[in-house]
């Protein structure tokens, strides 16, 4: 088991080390999220009822856009300097190495968003319980964004103007996560309870964690040809 997981662990470790040398990238994505979410109350006006209503959607859309920011670079720099070739030629499983990169992307782009979400949610006048559910839905949902996004990043690797194409390709695929994620808080406020939405979100996470690294690997092999 340890042997099997060591390429995964090293791949995560390597990408985190690279991210630590490029702190601006982490900070940019996080500040982008904070600013987008902050603009909404400023633009819409201080009506607490309305703000409470749009809060889950606003935070979720902010998280989607913040994830997209770093996604294009997920494989691009490794492709440019030949690291991806060496990974494909490794006797270790290429899929596990790719899964490690996706994990690192979530730790760098997704996790900070989850951590600041409760603070931002407070300015939308959300109750403590709603904040908890919202954070939980983001915790389950942001890995899905990284996983599905990785498939898009692999497919558009080496394509000219890949950034815009990536957004067009990936944002529609984020819709289910957005609906169940933002819906969890609304369902709770409506008295249905958030369990159904959160379970569906967890199911989405399991399915994408199983398939996305594998599909991304196949796309990367094609891109390397």
């Amino acid at each position: 088991m340890n042997r099997l997981l060591s390429p995964f662990r090293l791949s995560v470790q390597r990408d985190l080390l690279l991210a630590a040398r490029h702190k601006t990238e982490i900070i940019t994505a996080l500040f982008f999220f904070v600013i987008v979410v902050n603009l909404l109350p400023l633009g819409i006006g201080p009506d607490p009822d309305l703000l409470r209503k749009i809060a889950p959607g606003a935070l979720w859309i902010g998280a989607l856009l913040a994830t997209l920011l770093g996604l294009q670079r997920l494989f691009a720099s490794d492709h440019a300097d030949g690291t991806l070739e060496q990974m494909a030629l490794s006797p270790q499983s290429f899929t596990l190495l790719v899964a490690g990169k996706i994990m690192a992307h979530w730790l760098v782009a997704g996790l900070p968003v989850v951590l600041v979400a409760p603070v931002l949610g407070m300015q939308f006048d959300l109750s403590g319980r709603s904040l908890f559910i919202l954070t939980l839905s983001l915790l389950l949902g942001t890995p899905i964004l990284s996983l599905i996004g990785a498939v898009g990043a692999a497919l558009t690797l080496g394509v000219r103007g890949g950034g815009a194409l990536l957004s067009l390709l990936i944002l529609p695929l984020y819709i289910p996560a957005l609906i169940f994620g933002a819906g969890a808080v609304e369902a709770d406020l409506a008295g249905i309870g958030p369990d159904g939405h959160l379970s569906l979100l967890a199911a989405l996470l399991v399915v994408s964690a199983f398939f996305a690294p594998w599909v991304a690997t196949v796309a990367l092999r094609v891109a390397l040809e």
Partner: protein
């Protein structure tokens, strides 16, 4: 033993080579010669398994490479045109992390010893972006010292190396061949290696 039969490669409309067959026994090396654009790198990429040929088959010790990719890659060390070095990381980090991802835990002392052998003492903790082209190449070539592999595929290994480092590399290849390994390389420079096989594209 690597054996290649009836290999055909096409890039776009152009057929780069067709019906290429050769065998590379143990302790032998093979030079791939040809003008710029003749398809040397394409051939190496096909041999390493990075891209698929249009036709033909490649076997390693009797097993088709396509059927046992991971087994073949455990025996293979491929150094391409591109460095696969991360500019932000130090040579030491680059070596330990890239070899680690290939399933080889390298102690830092072993890695820095390899860097010393390639004349990079004092540069172990310097980010790669401060190194010259020749020094980067040397960091890459340290993989030859650290990772055991039976077959070396080296694309233009002598590029950017000075006479001293080139001599050291030639010595390494010769030791590798004496130990029963085999090597495939492309090079425009005239080499001082003992004569080997040659394929001209």
């Amino acid at each position: 033993m690597l054996s290649v039969s009836h290999l055909t490669c096409q890039r776009g409309e152009r057929v780069l080579f067709q019906d290429l067959s050769f065998e590379l026994p143990q302790s032998q090396w093979l030079q791939i010669a040809g003008a710029n654009g003749a398809g040397k790198t394409s051939l190496l990429r096909i041999l390493s398994g990075l891209s698929e040929p249009i036709g033909g088959r490649i076997t390693w010790n009797g097993t088709p490479v396509r059927e046992d990719r991971e087994g073949f890659h455990a025996d293979l060390l491929y150094l391409g045109h591109q460095g696969a070095l991360k500019e932000e990381l130090t040579p030491l980090e680059n070596l330990t992390l890239s070899l680690g991802m290939e399933g080889l835990e390298v102690a830092e002392t072993a890695a820095s010893q390899a860097l010393h052998q390639f004349g990079l003492q004092g540069r172990e903790q310097l980010p790669v972006r401060f190194l010259s082209a020749g020094q980067r190449r040397r960091v890459l070539l340290c993989r030859l010292l650290l990772r055991p592999a039976r077959l070396w595929i080296l694309d233009e290994p002598y590029t950017a190396l000075d006479i001293h480092a080139a001599g050291f590399l030639t010595g390494l290849i010769e030791t590798h061949l004496l130990g029963g390994g085999s090597a495939i390389l492309t090079s425009h420079q005239s080499m001082t290696l003992s004569p080997g096989l040659c394929v001209t594209l």
